[in-house]
């Protein structure tokens, strides 16, 4: 059993999700009675492998989920995969996977690029670090789900506007339901990302106060980007709240939610490729600090 679990790699569950995604695409091409079971089977197998992989890391490498950028992305992907499985089992005729599985696979790809080194943690900052990670995770998952429902809203509204019949085996949820999800996730995303950003500020302030090594400058690109993203998400949440009863409201909120997701993706890509001290382990922080004119407190 141990050998089996230790042998699970990212490729195992990424491939399972990939096959489930291909089955989802095949909905558009042909009908099959067996496809649903095969699709859920592959997705469930992938999810199981994904869970065991995260569990194994937690048990053997003390890499509790959220303890590194790598684990953070995998946990975000795991949350969305769980959501996908639940939605598919509850609504087998709705092609949620066509929209959610690419996000899951994208997050797994991002994990491959991300650092596996654990974030620096001290007993004093451990709680704030966990709060920061959990809220950011919740906010990102909410933005992703909001974007998926927004995209489905736009497709459904386009179909109804063109007065076309639903594609067989590709039945979208109603505009009412999708608008509700988009609007709620916009508000959850604003609150969660705001709380994540605020807890990050507290975490950094505590680190600075205690003179720890891994402080992040207030002008760090990640801090600035996340701050801007929080402001944007708050605006989207206000628009979602205020325009709920407007004839154009749902469409505008859907478009804004798509833009939010675009900004989140840009932020992730920038975080992977750009130069930042956010989330760096102490050794790397030291190297970065040494290379720059940053003052290192000992």
């Amino acid at each position: 059993m141990v050998t089996f679990v230790s042998g699970i790699s990212i490729v195992c569950f990424a491939a399972s999700y990939g096959v489930a995604f291909l089955f989802e695409i095949s909905r558009l091409i042909f009908r099959s009675g067996l496809r649903g079971a095969a699709m859920v089977g592959f997705a469930a197998a992938g999810f199981m492998a994904h869970t065991l992989f995260l569990g194994w890391r937690a048990a053997t490498e003390q890499a509790v989920p959220l303890s590194s950028a790598f684990d953070w992305y995998l946990l975000a992907a795991w949350s969305l995969a769980a959501g996908y499985l639940w939605l598919t089992l509850a609504n087998p005729r709705t092609p949620v996977g066509l929209f959610m599985l690419p996000v899951v696979l994208g997050l797994i790809c991002a994990a491959q690029w991300a650092s596996r080194e654990p974030f620096s943690q001290s007993p004093a900052t451990q709680v704030w670090g966990a709060i920061h990670g959990i809220f950011n995770l919740l906010g990102s998952v909410a933005v992703a789900i909001g974007a998926v429902s927004a995209l489905m809203w736009l497709i459904q509204a386009d179909r109804l506007g063109k007065k076309e019949p639903p594609i067989r085996g590709f039945r979208m949820p109603s505009l009412e339901k999708l608008a509700q999800i988009t609007s709620r996730t916009a508000i959850i995303a604003a609150w969660a990302t705001g709380a994540g950003f605020a807890s990050g500020l507290v975490l950094n302030a505590v680190n600075r106060q205690r003179g720890l090594l891994d402080t992040v400058p207030w002008t760090d690109p990640v801090v600035v980007r996340m701050g801007a993203l929080v402001v944007w998400l708050v605006i989207v949440a206000i628009v979602a709240r205020v325009m709920a009863r407007s004839p154009h409201g749902s469409r505008r909120v859907a478009i804004l939610s798509m833009i939010s997701f675009g900004l989140l993706v840009m932020s992730i890509v920038w975080g992977l490729l750009g130069n930042t001290r956010h989330g760096m382990p102490p050794q790397q922080v030291f190297r970065v600090h040494s290379a720059s004119r940053w003052v290192v407190h000992s």
């Binding site: 007065k163 639903p166 004839p247």
Partner: protein
């Protein structure tokens, strides 16, 4: 030629023209009476629904139905439309084509929604109106009753109408359900209280709608429908006010002009505070003025907008189509055989009359020579003569009947006339 048909359906006639061509019940009665005056001795039935207008005519050999172009002219004249407008969109059929078409129509095979049951009632009603106004006759009567029999066979022997799909059900399932997640918290406004309204109401109830208000010009019919199907009825004068509060409007009236003008709709819509409104205008002519157009928050569908959805539905039920078509073909052949055989009826009657007359003469002569026969013996002999004549006639009658399946048995009839010297 004994049967003729001229008509157009949702496939051939655009909605705007169909709206002008459609007949109300009173207009249909008037048109059929005028037809009888213009073409005396011809039977006529007018079938006018939201998706088709078809004029069926029949006549015996001596006075067959008028040529189809005259029937097109008649329809154009009745509705005040230029004949040239109709010439390209109306189809004509003769004899077997007419029968096959009517049987397909009654079975729901020619409907927007394949196998929909509503058309049976509409065909039955068209025939009843023609019968009551004395414009139908024995030929159309037999054809329409055979059509209803065929429809029953298609329903019972195939599963083409198993899901009892109809235009209202497709409108609600494919479009209204695309906008609204549930109907139990929605206010539904149903305009009209006819068969389509009743069908829609049943489907909405199944879909979960609780708050359904029926408005109809005749309040008593609205109350009757509401009582039967557990809805409420309101005053027709409150239409504009109800448009402000409804979430879903289904309109099925038989009005000949739009009942909701652009101005009335704009006033009501502006007071809705942005709440989305779904309008399913299933009436022909349309109940909502076409100039209302697209607006944010308004999802307005007319009957022609459902065409693609109905076609998709039709494709999904195509598997049952061959079995239904086979029944229609079989019934068409049987009806045409009977019809052709009927044309030989006069010859057979004359032959029987001749033989009977000859038999009677011979019997009288025999009874004259045998005066001691009592009435019972005379009766026995008379019956024996009749049996003998019938047995002699049976083979030629069967030959005529079997030849009738392939068409009118003109050759055999001519031979009989010549062999037995039968005069017209």
């Amino acid at each position: 030629m004994m049967l003729a048909l001229v008509g157009g359906t949702h496939r051939t006639v655009p909605l705007a023209l169909r709206e002008r061509l459609v007949f109300s019940a009173d207009q249909a009665i008037d048109a059929m009476r005028r037809f009888r005056e213009r073409f005396p001795g011809r039977e006529v039935v007018l079938l006018s629904t939201c998706n088709r207008v078809e004029l069926y005519s029949a006549g015996e050999q001596s006075a067959g139905p008028p040529p189809t172009d005259q029937m097109v002219s008649f329809l154009a004249e009745c509705r005040g439309i230029e004949k040239s407008e109709l010439a390209g969109v109306l189809d004509g059929q003769l004899d077997e084509g007419v029968v096959r078409h009517l049987f397909s129509v009654a079975s729901g095979l020619d409907s927007m929604v394949l196998g929909e049951p509503q058309i049976i009632a509409q065909v039955k009603q068209a025939w009843a109106i023609a019968r009551d106004s004395e414009t139908a006759g024995p030929l159309t009567g037999e054809m329409f009753s055979a059509a209803l029999r065929t429809a029953k066979r298609v329903t019972s022997e195939t599963s083409i109408g198993r899901e009892r799909l109809s235009i209202p059900s497709i409108a609600v399932a494919d479009f209204a359900s695309g906008v609204f997640e549930r109907f139990d918290d929605k206010q539904v406004l149903l305009l009209g209280a006819g068969k389509m309204a009743s069908e829609t109401l049943r489907y909405l109830r199944t879909a979960g709608a609780r708050d359904i208000l029926i408005l109809n010009r005749s309040r008593s019919r609205a109350i009757d429908l509401a009582d039967r199907l557990g809805a409420t009825s309101g005053a027709w004068e409150d239409l504009e006010q109800q448009l402000q509060s409804a979430d879903l409007v289904v309109s099925t009236t038989g009005a000949t002009k739009p009942i909701v003008s652009e101005a009335m709709f704009s006033r009501a819509f502006s007071r809705r505070c942005g709440r989305p409104l779904v309008v399913l205008d299933l009436a022909v002519p349309r109940d909502f003025d076409p100039s209302i157009g697209r607006r944010p928050g308004l999802w307005l569908y007319s009957i022609d907008d459902l065409g693609a959805a109905c076609e998709a539905n039709r494709k999904s039920r195509q598997r049952e189509l061959p079995a239904a078509i086979a029944i229609v073909d079989e019934e068409t052949r049987r009806f045409m055989g009977d019809l052709h055989h009927r044309s030989s009826g006069s010859v057979i009657e004359r032959l029987r009359a001749d033989w009977s007359e000859t038999g009677d003469t011979e019997l009288e002569r025999l009874f004259h020579r045998l005066p001691k026969l009592d009435p019972a013996e005379k009766s026995e002999i008379r019956q024996a003569f009749e049996r003998y004549a019938n047995k002699l006639l049976h083979p030629p009658m069967e030959s005529l009947r079997s030849a009738s399946h392939a068409g009118p048995p003109h050759g055999l009839l001519d031979a009989l006339k010549r062999l037995f010297d039968l005069k017209d």
